[in-house]
Symmetry: C2
């Protein structure tokens, strides 16, 4: 991204206004000396709606991760290595960029302690800070004589004049054909888990968990088919908090059985979205002495603190998060169908690119548009699952690159092209990366590509015992790169939702040992090692893979083994491989994979009458000898 790609947001006036409201008794009981503006929304979503882009509003930086803190004298933004360049370009000089991960960079806590006057009050909106983050920050501040205070009115909203409204899009009710389980079955299963652990209530705050539980989808947040809502589930109560206008739709009313519930314990009581706080207070007030309530420790501080400590059981991930991660047979079938359609679109795209690139008119943006157009021709297409990463040459080395008019490069026969894209279909979510060259790659580019491919295969073909956590597989993806002194600075895989968020927990494949749960048959994750040469090129090979039981020669302690089955079926460019560097086992893997691509996608291309793409597919899936 060239240095003149973006001009910084001018924030002098905004900061002046914010500092005024930090002392204005209309919004706060006592003046605060610092105000924290986290990234997320009240549901701690990774992607957020425009009305929740408060951190971007105050500082100009619009990356997906970052926290702004404004004191009477200073304004600082913390973000990680993916965004150092972008943040420095989007912020004016009222802001100090705090580069997380560098030794010399203070933590937010240490920095606050160094700049605050004695006995300071630091404010934050308790709805957008997670309970575990609140706890850490509060502890650090009070150890130095300061305090963290919950400011009920969001002070950014106070000064944000034309703040967009919270979206309230049409809801889609999904039938058994797509979900495999009715919402009633899901609630019953959840209650089983609750009664096993002697839990009588569960507060659901994550938007994808609510969407999954009720078999509903929305489009409140771009790329994520979710809708703003809360749910509070008891052993004989289901309380759903959602904009009431959305419940006027007869299809939704019928789906939720609002007018004719089948059983009392499966009757949904609907409340306005905003009333979750008071309603949860009422539920808590009526709790018997030993009753326990589940809430995720990543839920908002505001809701968490409604639950008295003696009744609160904070958990690192919820039973819904785990149930959603293990796909049922219908969901698996849907994911397979979605990936076949997605592969059809990509084969068509690559066939088209081969013809068009020599004309010199194809750009990063035009490919992204073409890919979306081709996907949209497929049945039950809903939208993209994330902004397409379409990058030529040096842009490929920017891991979270998104082409903009100012950075847009033309595809040519001389540079590597990387495309990481995916879509939402009614039956599933896709996410695939291919790295290709339309001319002749250099030996070095092929060498690097082949190491990445070896890593991709090492994970995809790995056999491992039931109960293995994903982080134990991460090094398999890196071993070939490490041998040559190379590496990539991101995780190897993330969970993928089924017509839901393209990133979901609680499993993944990463050197970061976050609280990841063991892999189980039915889970779906990505396998995406890469290599990035700053200023030159980026390589990534990504398939979405399904965890399946593996047949092994022995079966130690009857534990059983697992392996992966690729759901993504798009050829991996043979031209980019140095096949001398592959073992016979790896060559066999590539040939088997391409055979499956040819058979499965070939049949669908034929059915759809896409002759050129079929020719391309057949050419690109010739076996290596």
């Amino acid at each position: 991204m060239p240095a003149d790609a973006m001009s910084p947001k001018i924030t002098v006036e905004l900061l002046r206004q914010l500092r005024q409201v930090m002392k204005n008794s209309k919004y706060i009981t006592e003046p605060i000396q610092a105000y924290i503006v986290p990234s997320g929304d009240a549901h701690q979503s990774e992607y957020i709606a425009p009305c929740d882009c408060r951190r971007e509003f105050i500082c100009g930086f619009n990356g997906s991760a970052g926290t702004a803190i404004v004191t009477e004298q200073h304004a600082a933004l913390w973000t990680d290595g993916r965004y150092f360049l972008q943040a420095s370009q989007q912020m004016d000089n009222n802001w100090t960029l705090m580069k997380m991960g560098l030794k010399e960079t203070p933590s937010q806590e240490d920095w606050l302690l160094s700049v605050l006057p004695e006995n300071s009050k630091v404010g934050v909106d308790p709805w957008i800070i997670a309970a575990d983050q609140w706890k850490n920050m509060s502890k650090a501040l009070s150890s130095a004589g300061h305090s963290l205070v919950a400011v009920q009115d969001n002070l950014i909203d106070v000064i944000w004049q034309d703040r967009p409204a919270r979206p309230s899009t049409k809801l889609i009710a999904l039938g058994l054909k797509h979900t495999g389980l009715t919402w009633q079955d899901k609630v019953t299963a959840l209650r089983g888990k609750m009664s096993e652990r002697k839990i009588s209530w569960f507060v659901v705050t994550a938007l994808d968990e609510i969407a999954w539980l009720f078999n509903l989808r929305g489009s409140d947040i771009e790329y994520n088919p979710v809708f703003f809502a809360y749910a509070v589930i008891g052993m004989s109560n289901i309380k759903l908090f959602v904009d009431s206008k959305r419940l006027l739709d007869p299809a939704v009313r019928e789906h939720l059985e609002l007018d004719s519930p089948s059983k009392p314990e499966l009757t949904i009581q609907c409340f306005p979205y905003e009333s979750v706080y008071t309603e949860l207070q009422a539920v808590c007030a009526a709790l018997a002495p030993k009753e326990k309530m589940w809430i995720c420790d990543k839920a908002s501080c505001a809701l968490t603190q409604v639950i008295p400590k003696s009744h609160r059981s904070a958990i690192p991930y919820t039973p819904l998060c785990l149930a959603k991660a293990v796909k049922n047979p219908t969901e698996i079938q849907g994911m397979k169908m979605a990936h076949i359609k997605d592969a059809v679109a990509l084969c068509e795209l690559f066939a088209w690119l081969e013809k068009e690139i020599p004309k010199g008119t194809v750009t990063e943006i035009s490919v992204a548009d073409k890919a979306e157009e081709l996907r949209s021709q497929q049945k039950d297409f809903v939208g993209l699952s994330f902004p397409t990463i379409s990058s030529v040459g040096p842009n490929g080395a920017i891991i979270h690159y998104m082409p903009l008019p100012e950075t847009n490069r033309t595809l040519s026969l001389n540079e590597i092209y990387l495309i990481d894209s995916g879509a939402q279909y009614l039956d599933g979510t896709t996410d695939v990366t291919r790295t290709v060259h339309f001319g002749t790659p250099t030996d070095y580019e092929k060498e690097c590509f082949t190491y990445v491919l070896k890593g991709h295969i090492a994970v995809s073909a790995a056999v491992f015992p039931n109960g293995t956590k994903g982080h134990l597989l991460d090094s398999f993806a890196r071993a070939a790169l490490w041998d040559s002194g190379l590496d990539y600075l991101h995780g190897t895989g993330h969970g993928v939702g089924c017509f839901l968020n393209v990133h979901e927990g609680p499993c993944g494949i990463s050197y970061k040992t976050f609280a990841d749960e063991p892999l189980e048959a039915g889970m779906i994750v990505s396998d995406e090692p890469g290599y990035y040469e700053d200023g030159s090129f980026g390589i990534r090979i990504e398939n979405v893979v399904l965890v399946i039981p593996a047949k092994t020669k022995y079966n130690y302690r009857n534990r059983g083994s697992l392996t992966f089955e690729p759901l993504t079926l798009v050829p991996i460019q043979l031209k980019m491989m140095n096949t001398d560097l592959l073992t016979q086992k790896e060559r066999d893997w590539v040939n088997d994979y391409h055979k499956k691509c040819r058979e499965t996608i070939g049949a669908e291309l034929e059915r759809q009458g896409r002759k050129e793409a079929l020719d391309w597919l057949i050419r690109e899936t010739q076996p290596i000898v």
Copy 2:
């Protein structure tokens, strides 16, 4: 281990006495309803002195890990899978065995909550419970209305009539030749770390850290050359707490410069071992408001709580632990010399075994004795570094097996033999496992051995970036076993001290992601994958390896790469390998390794005139074709 191997300890009378003192106001202010007896000593040592074997005294179980809890009605012992059989044999039926790691087994906290009457008090000796364990237990108890109380008199000691005295063995002062750094240099370096982090005092409680810091060794605990002591280091103070009789030795006085200190800030003040509590209180009373004191969060609750919270900085491992883990050139040289001598003894042992086994008189115990005798012939031998694991056939499947007269098996031409042994020399510590067959192994035994070997090589030959944590390498050791549905249920490697404990932190190679620190050049760890077939055989191949810089083709972001150099140089039995299962790279590794064994150990065997062992070595290091 046959079922009649041990008879249980009769504990009726002991439990009666303990329950009486639990109510005796001579020892406690208010009666307690439960008493916890942890495994460790006041320094949280892994191996302990006889006077500290309190848990064994009360229940009979003498394994290395386990916690006993006695209530008015119940007595229960928690231990892990290594010890289920042994514990069930050593305890009488007054005790309930709590098998940790099984789903149905309650945690100590949950069990206490289920059996305690309301508002109970649970006692524990605050000196032998670690601060972090105290915190967890205390939190769980108080959340249910109970409380954890510190009982100053150890109640086991009260009823233990012939309890042995605390050892106070002769101290050995190590010179620069063995340590590479004077204790004065080490104190100065430590103060550098302290001032970097604005810490003014550091309380040292781990025995190996104290031994390393002062370049002193003792023999208070079998196998571990440490001595009972504490140290409190300030920026201009060095307080050493040790039995004063030990300081009468002129060599020790001179080494510590007790009579003629060179500089005031390097003057050691000596105090009796027992006075650490009151002296630390005095230091804390004199602290300035912002002064901070380091203590490890695994230190005893008693000492930790002396430090007021506002002054306490609890750390998961100390700067001494890290400094000790990264060996300096003198220590590395010493470790290499120790491993050469150790290999000489083992070559001699194996040559002797080949001759003696056919006579039918060699047993697990007699091999262990012979190995010790041969090691003791080597220069600067001090003792063993742990009890020798010498196991024939099915005994090899008991991971922590130690031959006893009742279990002792005879070595034969029909069964696999596994020996895991090591020694302390003045210049270094060794730990090596070899698995051999003196007749003809079955195809299955060879297959399993070869998978373990592949795992051993995968770790030993791994190349990985600077900054990689050991747990990221663990799966390399398992991949070949996993592929066939096999596995082993222990970690792959542990840190090894230099003429210090054979197990040390903070690095290791394990699927358990404890707070392990990144591997650095100069660290020394073991590489010991295995495979255990219950009732049949055990296989383990263990080398001690040194972390060294690796030369790689490229150098991503100038991070540099690391790999391992084996310090252990004992042939790996070719007869046990199915070489068809090895890749060319693996065969090359075996041949290179054996060439190094032959050259280095061959030269030393020649020098020592050990002709038979040399012949054996040459035969066992023929290259594979």
